[in-house]
Symmetry: C2
Subunit: 345 residues, 2 copies
């Protein structure tokens, strides 16, 4: 059933039917009711492609998900982020088109998506510090919102981010207050902006107390379970084994815990762990008694808000690009405790 048939059926012109369905005022309410009812009855849905052609809007938002070539890995936070964004889209009649792309190929995909006219706007995932995509998208004139930031980019652009620096600074401070002095950072890939900000927060907290940053304690890799396990296992073997770990992802923290418990040690008593927690739905940290002390920030909520920002930006392209900084909560759980011996080394 298409518009022409529906109009014929009703003995009306396409114009009137179209207007009736799209809520234009120049149509009699009685007529409109008739049209709406007929449309429903015939299960009529306007063809997106035709509508898009006519209006010049795709009613779709593009998400380009980077996929690590190395581990064939898709960051698990995307699932939740997209779930949040999807809520906003479906409330507003937008579709979501997804492309999974190998690391570094993202630019071409953005170009394609826009060139083809497949999307009205884009969400940029996993920004690097001086991410080239931002300039490119500005250049293309596509509305976009970055999930995260690109510290080295100075031109204004729309972003939504968690205050990663502050979160990790506070977490480090918390560990320092507990007497820990040998704190290792099990970070994500530091080419990613969020990871470098977390590191900055960590280092800031240390230097604020006049403590040195020990290179041996700094680790950076893709946030798999295995990475957490291997790294901590190795670190616990070293001469000056850390008494505390600051971890960038829940998944990695699981590996960290595995390495600790394998040693017969207990989290919160022998070794302290703080992890960042994106509040993934299938991996709740626990409400009443969280397993991990964690810096919490719901990535799903971030998805909701980023999508909202993007839709507003599409509606008002001339407004200055909006920014939003979400603060992470430092939630105390069972994985932290006073340093075993509170000497300052």
């Amino acid at each position: 059933m298409n518009l022409r048939e529906l109009a014929q059926n009703l003995g009306l012109s396409q114009t009137t039917v179209s207007r009736a369905l799209n809520g234009y005022p120049e149509v009699n309410e009685a007529t409109r009711a008739r049209v709406v009812q007929a449309a429903e009855q015939h299960n009529y849905r306007p063809n997106t492609r035709a509508k898009g052609l006519a209006t010049g809007r795709a009613m779709a938002i593009g998400h380009v998900i980077p996929m690590s070539k190395q581990h064939e890995m898709v960051n698990p936070v995307f699932g939740d982020f997209i779930a949040g964004a999807g809520e906003t889209y479906s409330r507003n009649g937008y579709d979501m088109v997804l492309s999974l792309v190998e690391d570094g190929q993202e630019e071409k995909t953005y170009r394609d998506l826009r060139g083809k006219g497949a999307v009205d706007g884009l969400i940029v995932h996993g920004p690097k510090s001086g991410d080239a995509r931002i300039a490119m998208l500005d250049d293309l004139g596509v509305p976009f919102v970055v999930h995260g930031r690109a510290s080295a980019v100075t031109t204004p652009y729309a972003w939504l981010d968690v205050n990663n620096r502050k979160a990790f600074q506070r977490a480090t401070d918390f560990l320092l207050d507990l007497g820990h002095r040998r704190i290792a950072l099990i970070n994500g890939l530091e080419e990613l902006d969020f990871a470098s900000r977390r590191r900055a927060g960590y280092e800031e907290a240390l230097t604020a107390r006049g403590l040195p940053v020990t290179p041996d304690y700094l680790h950076s890799d893709e946030m798999t379970e295995r990475y957490g396990y291997d790294t901590v296992r190795h670190l616990l073997d070293s001469d000056a084994a850390p008494t505390a770990f600051l971890v960038s992802s829940m998944i990695t923290a699981i590996g960290v815990r595995r390495a600790i418990e394998e040693r017969g040690l207990r989290m919160g008593r022998d070794i302290s762990v703080i992890t960042h927690d994106d509040a993934l739905s299938y991996f709740k940290n626990g409400e009443e008694a969280p397993i991990f002390t964690a810096t919490c920030s719901s990535v799903r909520e971030a998805g909701r808000q980023a999508a909202q920002m993007l839709l507003e930006r599409i509606a008002n392209p001339h407004l200055p690009p909006p920014n939003r900084l979400l603060e992470a909560q430092l939630v105390v759980g069972g994985s932290t405790g006073p340093a075993p011996t509170s000497r300052t080394d």
Copy 2:
């Protein structure tokens, strides 16, 4: 830059330019080369909507991801499944459109997606035993492939599934061989077809040896970490505590491990655990020495293949619907061992 402008630029008709770019034979190779070069130089990309309107094909596949209302949870396997499917799509010039929908609302979304003409085909996720969507999609005449099966549906339809029954039967047998007699099943929601098949395999193995199925050992819920933890914690408190657990998801198995270790017990020595492992990229079970004994089947590969099946089905709608049954590997890891006391109770 659109086709008309490009054609004007070249002093050719739109027809010729279109044909040149789409590889039709009735155009001089020299002309084609000129056209291709100009298109590249001007960064020309045909407008998908216009192309779609003209051809009647959307060049897009729809995925409708069910989202549990209860836990706001998106099953983490979707990320990997979609990553696999995405590979196939991008190789074939298809886009992927994603809708996240609350449990039970899926039907309407399928209808919409098809009615709007937004997609050429659909992947059906999370089928229930007598899933109504299959009849509906058949009715709508949309090509589709089900990831999983709907046991109660008797009409032929296209599906790709893991042999869940056999996998869990073998896993149960394996535990029985090790002398375990009190084996609990920590299953997913049994309204989902895969879960009921797993249960069937489990029960089959027990009854084949003349062993009873103990209702207290049967558990079914959304596969969160917490669910595994809570359930096992509770079971270990009971009079006839199980000596082995058969778990439906890696994430849940993490919770199971947590509960076990919290008791001061050790997996593989005091308690045996087998889990199904979807080979999620960020949560590898470990190559050389797997943590868990597991029934392994890559959901990413499933995505790749399901997408391939769908594209072929779109190309040849009259062929009988294809089916594919993947076998899971039973990989022995460190989480299983002989039953503590090998008496048969």
